[in-house]
Amino acid sequence: MANAIEDDPRIIEFDVRTDEMLVNMGPQHPSTHGVLRLVLRTDGEIVSEVEPHIGYLHRCAEKIGENLTHRQWIPYTDRMDYLAAMNMNLGWSLAVEKLMKYEVSEKARHLRVLIAELGRIASHLVGMGAYGLDLGTFSPFLYAFREREKILDLFEEACGARLTYSYITIGGLTADLPPGWLQRCEAFLDQFEPIIQEYHTLLTTNAIFVKRTAGVGVLSRDMAIEYGCSGPVLRGSGVDQDLRRDGEAIYTAMYDGYAFEVAVQKDGHYPRDHEYPAVPAGTVLGDCWHRFFVRMLEVVQSMDLVRQSIDRYSACKGTIGEPLKLAEKMPAGDAYLETECPKGQMGFYLVSDGSAKPWRVRARSSSFSNLAVTPELCRGCLIADVPAVVGSLDIVMGEIDR
């Protein structure tokens, strides 16, 4: 018995006997990304246990969904991952379209890709900037927001909103792009591309940044899969999975003909790594640095996809088609669809009894599963590592609490 305790890796011995202290990190705390509450059990600076408490932003979106028609619920998806509301709209729209076996027009498909990938860039910019903030550097946050604002300007022009768009909808999109939008979008991409190197200088390759993130919060691939982690968190652990390539047919069909390489480390190399900084020494696959770096690579990847979609979209003739009626009756049955959102795989499950309102709506959020792994990652780390780990998971509480 004594031996068992001796060998338990979770037992940490300290040089000075200190009393365990329970510390509430949040719900009001600068680095918990909203209203997350982490209860830390600390021994001095060392955290022996972390327990996340969620629900401070619970707005009963699923219950509300049972009382609204399918299209009426789209604004509620906006408020899940409010940093990438376009991708949320897309996920729900596709899930309903899957149930209806509906296929959008070719032009709408390319416009959806264009909008979703821009949304991904915008979301990753927040994730990147806020991560710098978590590690104590303020400026990259504003540099990231400066660029994000330009994307939001584009979105505003397209749909009139800057945060909760409800732009992508069931059966297409609410409106076509205004004239001159594509030129402005291309101008933004041209201007944005060199700036990414700045981010690499300030964060990715910064010696202190690497020190703070390398080898911290290592998430092994098995654990990532077992916890249902997804998105950059999963790919940061070296799992080669991206639903844009590996997802269900209705979703991958959207990306038919698009060329992109999943941002994941294979044989010690990231795709296109000749253009981007080498992986610094000391990093371990699955640590905070890799999760961060995957996001950085996905920004570039998304820019590439946006450029491709601009070409395809402008080559399409005709209209984007009409969205569905507000109270369209659905066939009875159920459908579950996961899409690759910036934060991970967002799944929508929809049960219909044949009426215009869903019987049951379920949102499976990526951040929910990604956050669930925090206690494992933070066990035995230092207090300063907790924001580093939670920040690297890039969670959004609106999506977790729904």
Partner: protein
């Protein structure tokens, strides 16, 4: 100043002395308080420029000159809160301890030749010692707040500052060794002339140790990337989490005061003190003896020089703060114990050996004032070949006592 008051105006001794002391005290107090106002404004402007923002623009015209003053008024009007479980006496006392320490250190800091609150024979030692006292206020604040975050901040501060005093002391000793005196006025005087007379350019060892000093100074005044005691992304606001209003602002005045102080120390010890890079006064034929106004002009020039150098140091600290992420506590300690201390020790030994081998420096004809005092002392044991630098007239209270 006492001389001036007694001889020129004809005040009696005690009145002159009291007046001089009051003027010095008020001046130093204003340097700290006014300096803090200016530096807080500068910090905002500098950070804004770094981050592509404008910073304050409304209060006080285009540049927001009066922003800090407006903030000060706001802080004065704020309610002074104290947590329920706090130790009232210690909680109230802590900001003053910090502020007094910062204030006291200014007493021995020479702003120009003879412009010094109290010329101390052990000025360097005194400043370092008193600066170390500032940590006590921080510890008290953290402990008395009855907040766990504050306590963490206090513990970090204690560990960090006590550790960094070791390499800081070693760095400070090098210029003391070169000048053969701990009197800051003497040290600065020895670096008169062209800028290659500055101790930072004395030999390669002093050049390296200057940068070690910069690192340790930033760490000892708790500025990023070593601002662990108030790391906002981890500890909310660290030791001053529970403070508000005027008491909180005392901590800030102390922080900016200390920043200015260590910068001014760097200027005096390594960068020639009030001597500009080019000996303008000498080239123009001014000296202490020429005319009535020349000494004042020279002192004014020296004052501008020193304040300029110190402000430059403060601005560089701001630049660092807004660029780099924060280190973790273990990395901060590693930086101190594994890098700063050994490097400082080696450089100290190196500088000492250099003094023996090449006492005149690399350029023999540079006209650097040598260490004549030291050689004088060594003429014979028990003998007294050269007098120590004459005591300044105002250096002892008893002089003016009847």
């Amino acid at each position: 100043m006492v001389d001036f008051l007694t001889s020129t105006i004809g005040l009696s001794g005690w009145l002159a002395w009291t007046l001089a002391a009051t003027v010095s005290a008020v001046l130093i107090l204003n340097v700290i308080a006014g300096g803090a106002l200016v530096f807080i404004w500068a910090e905002r402007k500098v950070s804004a420029r770094i981050q592509d923002r404008l910073g304050p623009t409304r209060t006080g015209g285009r540049f927001g000159w009066l922003q800090s003053l407006a903030d000060g008024i706001k802080l004065l009007a704020k309610e002074d809160l104290m947590p329920e479980g706090a130790d009232g006496m210690l909680f109230r006392l802590a900001p003053y301890v910090s502020f007094c320490a910062s204030f006291c250190a200014f007493i021995a800091l020479p702003f120009a030749f003879d412009v010094v609150g109290q010329r101390l024979n052990v000025a360097v030692f005194f400043v370092v010692a008193v600066l170390g006292l500032e940590v006590f206020g921080v510890i008290l604040a953290g402990y008395a707040s009855a907040s766990k975050w504050s306590l963490f901040g206090a513990m970090r501060e204690a560990a960090q500052v006590v550790s960094y005093e070791v390499p800081l002391g070693m760095c400070v000793v090098v210029p003391v060794m070169l000048a053969g005196s701990m009197d800051m006025v003497t040290i600065a005087e020895k670096q008169a002339g062209w800028f290659w007379n500055w101790y930072v350019f004395h030999d390669p060892f002093t050049f390296v140790i200057f940068w070690v000093y910069v690192t340790c100074a930033v760490a000892s005044v708790n500025r990023a990337p070593f601002d662990l005691a108030e790391a906002e992304s981890e500890l909310v606001a660290g030791f001053h989490t529970e403070y508000s209003g005027l008491r909180w602002s005392y901590f800030f005045m102390a922080e900016y005061g200390s920043m200015f102080l260590v910068s001014a120390m760097a200027a005096v010890l390594f960068l020639g003190g009030w001597n500009g890079p080019i000996p303008v006064a000498t080239l123009l034929g001014f000296s202490e003896g020429t005319g009535d106004t020349a000494p004042y002009l020279i002192r004014l020039l020296g004052l501008a020089n020193l304040v300029g150098k110190a402000s430059l140091g403060v601005i560089i600290m701001m630049w660092i703060r807004w660029t780099l992420p924060r280190l973790r506590i273990d990395q901060v300690m590693t930086t101190c114990l594994k890098y700063c201390t050994p490097i400082a020790a080696v450089m100290f030994a190196g500088a000492m050996l250099w003094q023996i081998g090449l006492p005149g420096g690399l350029i023999p004809g540079a006209g650097r004032p040598g260490g004549e005092i030291r050689e004088g002392w060594l003429e014979g044991p028990g003998g007294r070949a050269a007098a120590p630098p004459a005591a300044d007239e105002s250096r002892d209270v008893a002089r003016v006592a009847p």
